[in-house]
Amino acid sequence: MERSFPREIELLKQGEGRMFYGEGILAVTKALLQSGVAYVGGYQGSPVSQLLDVMVQAKDYLDTLGVHVEACTNEASACAMLATSVNYPVRGAVTWKSIVGTNVASDALSNLASAGVLGGALVVVGEDYGEGSSVIQERSHAFAMKSSLCLLDPRPELAQIVRIVEHAFSLSEAASTPVMLQLRIRACHLQGSFVCRDNVAPALSALHPKASAPPHNPGRMSHPPHTFAHERQKVGERLPAARRYIVDHGINETLAGDIAGAGLIVQGGLYNTLMRALATADLVDERGRSRLPILVLNATYPLVPEQLSAFCADKSFVFVLEEGHPEFIEFEVSALLARSGSACAVRGKSTMSCTGEYNGEALLRGLERFIDECVPALSCVPAAAWREEIDALRARASALLAAPVPARPPGFCVGCPERPVFGAIKLVERELGPRHVAADIGCHSFAMFEPFLLGNSIMGYGLGLASAAGVGPMSGKRPLAIMGDGGFWHNGFLSGVVSALKNGADGVLLIFKNGYTSATGTQELISTPSAERRDQAGGASATADDHAIEDVLRGAGVKWLRTVHSYDVAAVKAVLRRAFTTAEPGLKVVVAEGECQLERQRRLGPWTARRLAAGRRVMRVRYGIDEEICTGDHACVRLSGCPSLTLRMPTDPLRVDPVSTVDAGCVGCGLCGELAGAAALCPSFYRVEIVSAAPTWERFIARIRSWAVRALLPA
């Protein structure tokens, strides 16, 4: 794993009355333990990776409570785990990144929601929406609606989040319904504090196992005829029970204001941003409270009609602030008011922007329009003044900078094993021409950015090969499908490989075997090298000896299978060329093996320190460029894009263009040299081997050699 969490684990152990200082997602983790959760599962992904990572690392402590933790292979298996709470009165929680994880989990989620639960079942979804997001922009809200789940969207304040998590389990039990807790990216990474309570050991657990199996209760199974009864229960019993719980326990908050006739209805997660926007628009009183009444929906589904009617009763306008498309809450509020014949008019997406994150700016611009149109008693001058000020500021900045600032998308790390493979793909492309590239999710999707600019589609995690199924038969050139080992185990083997084999597809699949799900924080896979293996690997690639992927492929019937070391660009190029041009029919799989450089560097640091301390020989490698020979054409950058391969102005007064240079961040992966060879780049690259604590004989030879070289070469 990319990080280790000793401090965080100590925070989880804190008891009654102690102050917790930490991130939002860790606060949720602590709240799970305070709620007496018996089992936890999930699949990693920003922004909720940390929940599971901390839990996995805290195994020793969790064992003392009897809490079972499972790092699932995908979100579907995580969600299916919640079936435990269908038959047993135990609390369980799973987590994943939404919307993508919810999509993968949705089959299990529907079945779970249909059967209903006995013990509290909680899904913590990281709503990966807006700035910093890495997925498609959709709402988890739709899943809650279609499956009749409860959806919580707490105010982003740690004590409030913890309170809502604890309520979530009771709500789930009261309504026999799984509950989804949605946390936005910034709420997950929010640093704040709350007062702890003691952790609760679950009554039923590995420490206190159940003696007998549950009685057979077909009503707990999602199968006709019971599914029809489930539907009736959802509408007739569970949702009403959930609404009662929401009202009885004050999950939603009504905040009074001195302005009559208009009010705001806001998702809990947007509350803090809204307050800042109101303050800027001069719409708060001297104690910082909103002058407009607000209904804060910490539970965004189901809505409580009585609560909404009561809030709207004395108002001519309500403004629904709801992030994302479509505007489900706004529709529901509108329908409710229309049905009840209320005179209150609803504003929402007609006044706000329909798409994109509701940041302070978006809310402030929306508020200005709302006030202008609906609350003439108030002044929209402060909001308008702010808008004009910012527009002028941006115009001035643009004029001063004279050109748009170049984007800086994420990219491959220094020494990443995937970079040389994309370099090789570019080189093969030069020879054989461009072909369809079916990309996938993972670090390798960064190949879509400069300098590689590769890829024609992304269909989801592990779906690279499956997404090429229709392209192959109509293409003059075999398409190239890409998959990481993370995607391969997530579902790529079944949806891609097995499907291609079953249909006798003729295509090329490239699998990156770097040993981890690197993009999400280098979590472990079934094919991750063992701790022992990593310890022995030293400077070599620790993933070379694991053949789980190859064994599975062969077992399924892949005939054409080649494993090649990522950094050997010439070999990768040759193997790809062969895969593209061979007359052999069927699926051709190229496994590019190279350990994730982040993980390699993590283990190499201590390893090197240990060896040096013991006086044992250590060799480090770095690359460099001769400034006088580099012509400044930057062809090397266009094939590599390594962050440590950068530019500098030459000292030569005649030269006008910057030359390439290798900075101190170089980890000596060898790509520069390989590319210089395989792509016949310029001869300005050199490789330096620096041997520390060299044995006497090696030093002796080096001394003689250096003496001879001095005699041979001019100064």
């Binding site: 920003s46 910093g132 890495s134 990216i185 910034r186 709420a187 990474h189 640093q191 941003t273 307050m275 910082g288 402030l364 000020e389 500021l393 941006r394 900045a397 001063l400 900078l401 004279a402 050109a403 170049p406 800086r408 994420p410 990219g411 670090c443 400069e450 300098p451 003729d506 993009a519 007359a583 029919p585 460099g624 460029i625 400034e627 930057h634 062809a635 266009r638 950068t646 007064p653 005649l654 006008v656 263009d657 390439s660 240079t661 101190a664 520069c672 040299g673 210089a676 780049l681 310029c682 001869p683 050199y686 490789r687 620096i690 041997v691 520390s692 090696e698 041979l712 070469l713 001019p714």
Partner: protein, 508 residues
Amino acid sequence: MLIAALGGQGGGVLTDWVVQAAHADGYKAQATSTPGVSQRTGATTYYVEIVTGTDAAARTAALALMPLPGRVDVVVCAELLEAARMLERGVVTPARTTVIASTHRVYTTREKMERDDGRFDAERIVAAVRSLARRAVLVDMEAVRARHGAAISAVLFGALAGSGALPLSRVACEDAIRAAGKGVAASIAAFGDAYARAESPDGVPSDGPGGSTAPPAADDVPLPMALARRVAALPPLVCEYARPGARRTLDYQNDRYAQRYLDRVERIVRAQAAAGRSPPPAEVAREAARYLALWMCYDDLIRVASRKARQSRLARIRREVAAQADDVVRIYDVFRPGVQEIAAILPRRIGAWLAQRERGDAPALSVGSGLRLQASSVAGALVLRFASALRPLRPHSLRFVQEQAAIDDWLGVLEGMLAADGRDSSAAGLEVARLPRLIKGYGDTQARGREEFNQLLDAGRDGNAAGFLRAQRARRDAVASDCGSWHGAAQARSPRAQPVLWAKRPPA
């Protein structure tokens, strides 16, 4: 406070320190961020709010999770372009924002991959920050970081604390660093250094983490008398480049070659004088003298070997990689002379035959595939010495003959342009003088550059200034239309033959 950084620069660590120091000083503080995948070297931000008010309203106020443009007090940037990004977003206002930014650059891939110079103008960013910030603390934090062997987050923290932009005490800040428990000594030293600098920031942009610091070119070695006299007779503006040019060509080949260089420079000076147009007086000849020198000292195997075979180079590399005195250092040069490169230094006829053969259908020769030469070994040094000793034979080589012809062709077009009348020809003359900038690199890159060079040169023949400028504009537009990427534009413009490969379909 908004912190703009690149993934991996330690923005998260800095945020943690700030929050801890604020807590230690008794303030309520809240921080959040959007790292996610952008952590992988992409741009990312962190946002912190500290409550300085002590009344109940302040202590219970809801803190925001994201910055509101124009309402940010402190913007901390771990890299200069990220400061520009913050300006662009309207975050920085003269009314309230203190900008604490490192002046070093970490270039984006897009900037780096341009064939000539795609770098964003750093001076412009510095000027913009100075005019839009209420106060600007601009320090080359990368240099400070490197001096102390610390992470840049410690330097930023020091500059932030030293600037006084936040109400944090120095003790609380240093305690926060100590509590982290890793690399404390280096971090504290870097923090202290930056703390002091924040009061007297230098604000000069730098190239960022530098690799090599090449020895100054041998340009300042005095020229032989005859050459020096000829150079001195040139217009002073031209001298600036003609002097190092003469020195360069002399070192590259011999006295005769340097004389030939000056012959050519004088030819352009004369042409320009004859044209007699008012400003720029010697600008065209000056630029021509610069590119002529670079072109005449083109890179062939002989030159590459002579550059590589130097003791000073081996010593410089030892220094750059920070090798200790008793470390063993081995240097391998990645030489891969292709058939074309070898043909280039062979006598004209043989070289031409070989180059022709390589372009034809004859089986490819595998020459020098994967040659890795250890410059620091006896054998390697011998090979490099031998290759550089071929210098006297160079004037008979294939490429020498070709390059001289191409140079004379270019100078001819330049003369024609200078002699032409019309209002465009002055501007066109300068552009023609700079045209050799397109010819650089090796192999494919070199070929593409030459193709473009020849297209533009042809457009400018017979003093056709308007035609030349039109062609050049078309080229620039092609580059711009591909989001500034020369690479893609070049591919889009000139389709090349691709082999068609037939593969059997699997049996149905």
